[in-house]
């Protein structure tokens, strides 16, 4: 089926997420939609899928204009979508999930689960998926859950399959397997829209590439195009992710992990006997594909997550023990920039000034007896806003009203301004505009130059390579190896796939 988008525009308030976007996907083609986080790719696909209503523009299928009032219409028209966050019911079985929405039934609307199982088995056999129809989805690994999503779409006879950042949660092997699946599907006539910001994958699998930046189509390219060319189209200028750094001047060990094991929310061992040290004056980066235990590792260091009973210890400047409170860790001199700033870094209803005192409500300078020292707070807030270049009309503006980059600057302003010895920084530039990225990188290097120990956790290999003095690669909860920053990309890639060196 041929899919055409003509002049799609979608606005959220004053923000133009999609600005008259045109896109043509030929039958059996793998068409890659390339763009940075926040470029408007997902919005566009949600418009296509009927989740959002476009303000302007037209969708055509095989030349005929269509109008979707909901995902049901889109599906009926032959569009399937695998969302970045899986749309599965964790407590249902695979068969129930696949059946949901177009359930095979016997008399009186009684579910025919046998038919649903047969459907899962049929598709799964055809493409070699190996999925048990009776398994509960919550018990399945992420890669398999993704296949369930694909089966869901195929079971509805999808002619156009949209994959939204499908590799973000996959290991390199799983990514390769997915690409194989995509080629197979395309061969059988399915059109595929592949949304991603990863250049390597685009070049490996796409037949055609459309690049999107700030809600607009900025160009089209063939997969044979140079990586550098694609990258510059994507970010609007040549990417020079190099930060000037002085030679490292290592000091004493500030953070020491000794065979640390941690559980995730589903009670599975997410961090498995991890040991490493971070010294004053260095940036140690933890690289790895998302979901390999990095999140849990950071939370364990901060004290948000307890250690397992058979785990070794984490010690920060001599503070150790199994159940350290977050407050004791922070007061020991640790700054923490969490991975998800909306959820863990900021209170969006609070003003910038209030957010800047979020972890300072126990001690001076923000307090005066049991009360808040409002004068000092305002003074500090005005100063930080200037210092960290937070673009806002006032420090009384609620943090929720700021852009992603400015929100991140508020978090950094809070954490970097405290008297810290150790900085734990998770995904510092995720969803942050290019201008702010550079600013944030410079600040981090500045901290290292001032003799602070920095633990940088990032899934962006470019960022890791630009900032780190040493790189530890994490895979399935274990540190595969710790190498120096000059290690070449290919080798790091192998390590991220679990190959020890």
């Amino acid at each position: 089926m041929k899919l055409e988008l003509k002049g799609i525009t979608k606005r959220f308030g004053t923000l133009v997420a999609n600005d008259s976007i045109n896109l043509v996907v030929e039958p059996g083609q793998i068409h890659s939609l390339l763009g940075e986080n926040g470029a408007g790719k997902s919005t566009l696909m949600n418009v296509l899928y009927g989740l959002y209503k476009a303000d302007e523009g037209q969708i055509l299928l095989d030349g005929k204009p269509v109008n979707f009032s909901g995902p049901g219409d889109a599906m009926a028209a032959g569009i399937g979508m695998v969302h970045q966050h899986f749309m599965l019911i964790p407590v249902f079985t695979v068969a129930e999930n696949v059946a949901l929405g177009h359930e095979p039934t016997k008399k009186l609307g009684v579910l025919d689960l046998d038919a649903a199982r047969a459907m899962v088995n049929k598709i799964s056999d055809r493409f070699g998926f190996d999925v048990d129809p009776d398994a509960l989805v919550e018990d399945l690994p992420v890669g398999v859950q993704q296949r369930v999503e694909i089966i869901k779409s195929l079971a509805r006879d999808a002619k156009v399959l949209v994959l939204d950042e499908p590799t973000a949660v996959l290991t390199p092997q799983e990514t390769d397997e997915l690409m194989e699946i995509m080629r197979g599907l395309a061969k059988s006539g399915t059109s595929i829209v592949f949304i991603t910001h990863k250049l390597r994958e685009v070049k490996a699998v796409a037949d055609k590439i459309t690049v999107i930046r700030q809600g607009r189509v900025v160009g089209e390219a063939e997969p044979s195009a140079e990586t550098a060319e694609l990258a510059s189209m994507m970010v609007g200028r040549s990417v020079g992710l190099t930060v000037s750094k002085k030679a490292a001047n290592f000091g004493k060990v500030v953070l020491k992990l000794d065979r640390v094991s941690v559980l995730d929310d589903r009670d599975q061992r997410a961090v498995n006997e991890v040991s490493f040290e971070v010294r004053a004056g260095e940036i140690l980066a933890i690289a790895g594909v998302q979901g390999n235990g990095q999140t849990e590792l950071a939370e364990a260091i901060i004290g948000l997550r307890g250690l397992q009973s058979d785990s070794g210890e984490i010690s920060i400047s001599g503070l150790s023990g199994k159940n350290r409170s977050v407050r004791s860790v922070l007061e020991k001199g640790v700054g923490y920039v969490p991975e998800d700033r909306q959820k863990n870094g900021l209170v969006s209803e609070f003003s910038i000034a209030e957010n800047l005192m979020l972890n300072g409500s126990f001690t001076k300078p923000f307090t005066k007896g049991l009360g808040i020292d409002f004068a000092t707070r305002t003074e500090i807030a005005e100063k930080r806003v200037k210092e960290f270049d937070v673009r806002t009309t006032s420090s009384k503006t609620p943090a929720g009203k700021l852009s992603g980059g400015n929100q991140q600057k508020v978090v950094l302003a809070r954490e970097l301004s405290r008297e810290v010895e150790l900085l734990v920084v998770s995904q510092p530039t995720r969803g942050v505009d290019v201008g702010s990225i550079e600013f944030i990188h410079e600040r981090l290097v500045e901290q290292r130059n001032n003799g602070k120990a920095v633990l940088l956790i990032s899934t962006e290999l470019d960022e890791v390579m630009a900032l780190a003095d040493r790189i530890a690669v994490m895979y399935r909860g274990k540190i595969v190896g710790i190498v120096d920053a000059q290690t070449d990309r290919a080798k790091l890639g192998q390590m991220m796939a679990g190959v020890a060196v």
Partner: protein
């Protein structure tokens, strides 16, 4: 991302711990330190076709045996936990039933226990709770927290009494009770789905409104001439041929008012719809992950609206069971907290019609036990018996069902992009 899904965390010892304390209590206080008098269980009433002999047993002896049985169950549950298995809910239920028998034996030392009467009354008293809970389950399964069951029971009770009296037709009374409560529930649905209001707040306020409106109309319209507006009488008792003559089971289950039969039927039908049909699968999907349901073309708002509203029908029937199904007239605020008990029953019953029915029966049982114990042995502080089901719920919430999961999206409004 490992494929193996071995759990790393041990099952909680809370359940066997609580059970251990309770079994020890029963064994020591009802058994070893129990009363020597005999207690007589009267299995069949005088008028029944088939007569069975009474069973007599020493109160202390009964307590001892019950205590030992409880210790055994506790041991079994402890074994399950030590094997890192989830404690079976059937053990919990059996445990509760035996503990109740022991309590009964202790209370009734030196007296006769009319078994059929107590069980039958427990069932009748449980019916409004059961029906309220079924309404609650319908609502919470699609993700709308329903604190307004109390108000729905109350409006149902009012309408059933007044409309039955005015029209002289009890069936019409039942239907109007159900429809009014459903309309009431529809308000919750609209506020939750359309206005994205805080569901707990709306529920609390609807209860205030239900009390206000029924009190007001009761005083303005009903009190002047109760015989013309509030004397509906009670529904006739239907005895099912043959089945009704079985000892114990017959009088308890098969000689009842239509409300009781309807309630039992509704529980079965609701269970079937929820877990065996397309409608149920979709409803549960909406309650677990509304966005996912939306992406496969299920209309979340509509599903929520209808399940919540139709849940009101059931609660309305529960209200009718209070007036024309039991007391025979309406009184101010006569639901007296049964709606909140129904809410507890929903949770205690893990959002499952069958388990919720068992929990409702527990409450029905405790109510009749309090009434009956107050009559046979005036020395018993009935206020403590009143507390028992609430304490059980409290213990269950913190111990037994602490880890049971409500529908994941329960109480969260669904905002479409």
């Amino acid at each position: 991302m490992s494929a193996e899904t071995k759990k790393e965390v041990r099952e909680s010892w809370k359940t066997p711990a609580v059970m251990g304390v309770l079994s020890a209590t029963v064994l020591v206080f009802f058994g070893i330190l129990g009363k020597p008098e005999a207690v007589s269980f009267e299995l069949t009433g005088v008028r029944e076709v088939v007569q069975l002999p009474n069973i007599e047993v020493g109160s202390g002896l009964l307590g001892t045996f019950a205590g030992i049985a409880l210790v055994v169950i506790t041991a079994l549950v402890a074994w399950q936990v030590s094997q890192n298995k989830r404690a079976s809910i059937w053990f919990s239920m059996l445990f509760g039933a035996i503990a109740l028998v022991a309590l009964l034996g202790w209370l009734a030392a030196g007296n006769v226990v009319p078994v059929a009467f107590i069980l039958g009354s427990a069932l009748v008293l449980a019916v409004p709770i059961m029906l309220g809970a079924m309404g609650g389950i319908m609502s919470e399964r699609v993700g709308v927290v329903n604190i307004a069951i109390e108000g729905q029971l109350l409006t149902g009770a009012f309408m059933a009494a007044v409309i039955s009296t005015i029209t002289g037709n009890q069936l019409l009374g039942i239907v109007s009770a159900m429809i009014t409560a459903a309309l009431f529930s529809a308000v919750l649905a609209v506020f939750a789905v359309r206005f994205l209001a805080q569901q707990i707040i709306v529920g609390v306020v609807l209860n205030v409104l239900a009390i206000g409106i029924t009190n007001f109309l009761y005083q303005q319209w009903v009190t002047e001439d109760e015989s013309a507006t509030n004397s509906p009488g009670t529904l006739p008792i239907i005895s099912i041929p043959v089945l009704g003559d079985i000892p114990i089971i017959g009088p308890v289950l098969f000689q009842n008012r239509i409300t009781v039969f309807l309630a039992i039927g509704i529980v079965i039908v609701l269970w079937f719809i929820l877990f065996k049909t397309k409608l149920g699968l979709r409803a549960r999907a909406v309650g677990e992950n509304p966005l996912a349901a939306d992406t496969v073309g299920i209309n979340v708002g509509r599903t929520r609206f209808w399940w919540v509203t139709l849940g009101g029908l059931l609660a309305g029937l529960g209200g009718a069971a209070l007036t024309i199904g039991s007391s025979g007239s309406f009184g101010r605020e006569m639901s007296g907290g049964l709606g909140f008990i129904a809410l507890a029953v929903v949770i205690l019953g893990r959002w499952h019609p069958g388990y919720a029915t068992a929990a409702a029966l527990l409450f029905g049982f405790s109510i009749i036990l309090r009434i009956w114990a107050g009559q046979v042995s005036p020395g018993i502080p009935t206020n403590f018996i009143t507390m028992v089901p609430y304490l059980v719920t409290l213990i269950a919430v913190v111990g037994f069902v602490g880890r049971s999961r409500p529908p994941a999206a329960d109480g969260i409004p669904y905002v479409k992009g």
